[in-house]
C-alpha cells in the first residue's frame, strides 16, 4: 500500500523474504480483513455480493494458471479442462456417495492435479509452441471425454445437480452464506500462493522459467519442478471447478470450454504474469468487464440492435474486448495491471518528490 519504508532495515535474507514485508503491512491486512469479513457482508446488496463471489472463484483459478504460466513459464491452454475434471469429480462424489464438501473439494483438486500431470507430461520433452498445442489437445480430449462418457457426465445434458455445501448443519444456500464460503477459499489460495512463491519451490519455478538450462546446472531437477507446477496449477484449477459447481449448484461442461481457458489466460495477462496481486486484479477486471459491457449495451446498444440480437452482441463484444485487451497489454504493458499499480504506488511513496 502507500506507507513508506523509512526506518525499516532488513539485515537477513529471512527478513527480506517475509510474508509481511513491513511491520505496518499487518495493519493493512487487518483493515482489509475487517472490510471483507465484517463491513462488506453487512452493507453490500445481494447482487453485488454475487459478483464478489464470482470474483473469488476466478481468483483461485487465475492464481493456479499464473503459477504455471507466469512463474514457471509453461504455457497451458487447457486450464478450463482441469476445472471440469475437478467439478465432475466433486459432483459425482457428492451425488453418488453423499460426501460433504470438505472431502469432495480436495478430492476434485487432487483428481485435477493427477490429470494435469498427465497432460503436462509432454512438457518434459517439448516446450513453447509444442506445449501450447499439446495442452490444447488435452483440453479438447478432456472436453470430449466428459461429454461422451455418461458415467462421468451423468447422462443427459452432461450436467449433474449438486446440493449446496453445508457445515455443522448450516447450509450455504444464499449469496451471503456463499460469500463467506468462497472468501475463505480465495484467501486460502492467496496466502498459499504467496507462501509458495517465496519458498524454495517458487524460486525453482522462476529459475526454470528464466533459463531452464541454467536452472538445471545449478541443481534444480527441472522435470520434477515442471510436473510439480502442472500438478499445483491443476489442483487450483480443480478446486476452482469445484467452487463453480457448488456456487451454481450444477456441474456442466459448457462452463469449462476452450473459451474459458482463454478467459483465464486473459486474466493473468491483463493482471500481470508472475504476480499474485496481478492474478487478483486480472480476476476482478475480467469478471467485471462483461457486467460493465452489459450495462453499457443496455443503455446505448438498444439504439443499434434489437432485443433479440442483444444477447449475441453482448457475448460477442465481451470476447472481442478480451482479445483486444490481451493484444494491447502484450504489446504496450507486458507486466499488466500489476505494473500500473506499482507505478501509481511508487509515485505516492516518494510524494511530493518525483523520485
Amino acid at each position: 500500500m502507500f506507507h513508506r519504508e523509512s526506518g525499516v532495515f532488513k539485515t537477513t535474507y529471512r527478513a527480506d523474504m517475509a510474508l509481511y514485508p513491513l511491520p505496518i503491512a499487518k495493519w493493512t491486512v487487518a483493515v482489509l480483513a475487517l472490510i471483507f469479513v465484517v463491513i462488506v457482508p453487512l452493507t453490500v446488496h445481494e447482487y453485488y455480493l454475487s459478483i464478489l463471489n464470482l470474483i473469488f472463484i476466478a481468483i483461485v483459478g487465475a492464481l493456479g494458471l499464473n503459477i504455471l504460466v507466469g512463474y514457471t513459464g509453461q504455457i497451458s491452454i487447457g486450464h478450463a479442462a482441469f476445472m471440469s475434471v475437478g467439478a465432475y469429480t466433486a459432483a459425482n462424489l457428492a451425488v453418488r456417495l453423499g460426501l460433504p464438501f470438505w472431502i469432495t473439494l480436495p478430492a476434485g483438486g487432487l483428481m485435477a492435479a493427477t490429470i494435469g500431470v498427465v497432460v503436462g507430461m509432454p512438457s518434459l520433452r517439448i516446450k513453447g509452441l509444442y506445449l501450447a498445442i499439446a495442452t490444447l489437445a488435452g483440453q479438447l480430449i478432456i472436453e470430449w471425454t466428459i461429454n461422451h462418457v455418461p458415467a462421468i457426465s451423468g447422462g443427459a445434458q452432461a450436467s449433474i445437480q449438486v446440493e449446496r455445501p453445508s457445515l455443522f448443519g448450516v447450509s450455504f444456500n444464499t449469496q451471503g452464506h456463499l460469500y463467506f464460503f468462497l472468501l475463505f477459499f480465495a484467501v486460502l489460495a492467496i496466502v498459499a500462493t504467496l507462501n509458495l512463491v517465496r519458498s524454495r519451490i517458487g524460486r525453482a519455478f522462476v529459475a526454470v522459467r528464466d533459463q531452464d538450462i541454467a536452472a538445471e546446472i545449478i541443481g534444480i531437477d527441472i522435470y520434477r519442478y515442471k510436473l510439480l507446477a502442472f500438478a499445483i496449477s491443476s489442483f487450483y484449477a480443480g478446486v476452482c471447478g469445484v467452487l463453480y459447481t457448488y456456487y451454481f449448484g450444477i456441474a456442466n461442461y459448457e462452463q469449462f470450454q476452450l473459451i474459458v481457458s482463454i478467459d483465464y489466460l486473459a486474466m493473468i495477462i491483463i493482471g500481470g504474469l508472475g504476480s499474485v496481486l496481478g492474478s487478483i486484479l486480472g480476476a476482478v477486471f475480467v469478471t467485471l468487464l462483461p457486467i460493465v459491457i452489459r450495462i453499457l449495451m443496455e443503455d446505448v446498444g438498444s439504439l443499434f440492435f434489437t432485443t433479440a440480437e442483444m444477447a449475441n452482441v453482448i457475448s460477442g463484444l465481451r470476447l472481442g474486448v478480451f482479445g483486444g485487451l490481451i493484444i494491447f497489454f502484450l504489446i504496450v504493458e507486458p507486466e499488466g495491471l500489476n505494473r500500473l499499480w506499482r507505478n501509481i504506488r511508487s509515485y505516492f511513496r516518494v510524494w511530493p518528490f518525483s523520485y
Binding site: 504460466v69 513459464g73 504455457i75 491452454i77 507430461m121 509432454p122 512438457s123 518434459l124 520433452r125 517439448i126 516446450k127 513453447g128 509452441l129 509444442y130 501450447a132 498445442i133 499439446a134 490444447l136 489437445a137 488435452g138 479438447l140 480430449i141 470430449w144 461429454n147 461422451h148 531452464d212 527441472i222 515442471k226 473459451i259 482463454i262 489466460l265 486473459a266 495477462i269 440480437e309 449475441n312 452482441v313 457475448s315 460477442g316 463484444l317 465481451r318 470476447l319 472481442g320 474486448v321 478480451f322 482479445g323 483486444g324 485487451l325 490481451i326 493484444i327 502484450l330 504489446i331 507486458p334
Partner: protein, 298 residues
C-alpha cells in the same frame, strides 16, 4: 468388390478429399511459421473472417461470384499486412509465448467481433457447382469436396513453384533459414514477414470460400481451425509438403474412425481421433514427418 471393401474405399476417398481441404487451411499456418517462426492460433478465425466477407458480398443483389472472391482476397491480403504491422512487429524478439498469446487474443477478438459486425445468423455461400454427388466407382463425393481438393492441390503446386523458382520465394526461404544472414544479404526481412501473413490471408480467403460453402458461414466455421494443429504437427510445422501429407492422413484417420468406431462409442470420434494421433506424434516425433529436426528440447 465386396461390401466391406467398398465401404472402406468410400471412407478413404471421403477422408482424402476432406483431408485435402484441411491441408488448404494448414497451408496458411505453415507459410507463416516457416517464414516468421510465429504460431498462428487464429488460422481458423482467418477462415471464418474470409467466409463472412464472401457471404456478405454474395448477399448483395446480382453480385458475381468472381467479384466477391476477388474482393475477399483483397481484404484478406490487406488484413494480413495490417496484422503484421500492428500486432506482430511490436512483438518481434519477445518470447515465443507472447506471440502465441497474441494470436490467441486475436482469435478471441475475431470470433467475438465477427458476429457483431456481420450478424450472427448462418449464411450460405453457394458456388455454381451443383449438388449432384460425383460418383467414382463405388464411392461418391459431394462436388464441394472435389472443388476444395482441386483448390488445395492448385495452391500447393503454385506455392511449390513460388518457393522453388521465383525471386521472392527464394528470398523468403532465405529469411526462413536464417534471418540475420538474410538481412545481411540485403533482404528486407520485415517486408517478407508481412508478405508471409498476406499469403496466409490469401490461403484463408480461398479456405473461407470452400469451407464456408460446405458448412455454411457463422462463428462455428472457426472451429475448423482447431483441426489445423494435428495436421501441421503430423506433417511438420515448417513443411509445405508436410501440410499436404498431414492433411491427407488426418482426413483419412478421421473418416475411418468415424466409419468404424462411431457405432461402438455413440458418435463424435471424428473430433477425437486426430488429437489422440497428434499427442502420439508429439510424444514420439514432435517435429513431424517432414519437419526440421531443430526442435528445442529440454
Amino acid at each position: 468388390m465386396s461390401e466391406d471393401l467398398e465401404f472402406a474405399f468410400s471412407l478413404l476417398l471421403n477422408g482424402a478429399s476432406i483431408g485435402l481441404m484441411y491441408s488448404l487451411i494448414a497451408l496458411g499456418f505453415v507459410l507463416v511459421y516457416k517464414a516468421t517462426d510465429a504460431i498462428n492460433f487464429a488460422q481458423g478465425e482467418f477462415v471464418m473472417l474470409a467466409g463472412l466477407i464472401v457471404a456478405m458480398m454474395l448477399s448483395f443483389e446480382g453480385m458475381p461470384l468472381v467479384v466477391a472472391i476477388v474482393v475477399t482476397l483483397a481484404v484478406m491480403i490487406g488484413f494480413g499486412f495490417g496484422l503484421e504491422r500492428v500486432v506482430l512487429r511490436p512483438l518481434l524478439g519477445r518470447p515465443v509465448v507472447a506471440v502465441i498469446m497474441a494470436t490467441i487474443g486475436l482469435a478471441a477478438m475475431l470470433r467475438g467481433l465477427g458476429p457483431v459486425v456481420f450478424g450472427s445468423e448462418t449464411r450460405a455461400v453457394s458456388l455454381p457447382i451443383g449438388d449432384e454427388p460425383i460418383v467414382l466407382g463405388p464411392a461418391s463425393l459431394p462436388p464441394i469436396q472435389v472443388a476444395g481438393a482441386i483448390v488445395a492441390i492448385t495452391l500447393f503446386v503454385a506455392f511449390s513453384w513460388f518457393f522453388k523458382k521465383s525471386r521472392m520465394g527464394v528470398a523468403m526461404r532465405a529469411v526462413a533459414d536464417n534471418q540475420q544472414v538474410a538481412q545481411a544479404m540485403g533482404i528486407n526481412v520485415e517486408r517478407y514477414f508481412a508478405l508471409a501473413w498476406a499469403m496466409a490471408g490469401v490461403v484463408s480467403a480461398l479456405g473461407g470460400v470452400v469451407w464456408g460453402s460446405m458448412l455454411g458461414v457463422d462463428v462455428h466455421l472457426a472451429l475448423v481451425g482447431l483441426k489445423v494443429f494435428p495436421v501441421v504437427i503430423l506433417g511438420g510445422l515448417d513443411s509445405i509438403g508436410g501440410a499436404l501429407v498431414g492433411g491427407l492422413i488426418i482426413g483419412i484417420v478421421e473418416s475411418l474412425a468415424a466409419g468404424y468406431l462411431d457405432p461402438y462409442v455413440g458418435g463424435g470420434t471424428k473430433d477425437f481421433a486426430p488429437y489422440v494421433l497428434m499427442i502420439l506424434v508429439l510424444m514420439i516425433r514432435p517435429y513431424g514427418i517432414f519437419g526440421k529436426r531443430k526442435i528445442e528440447r529440454v
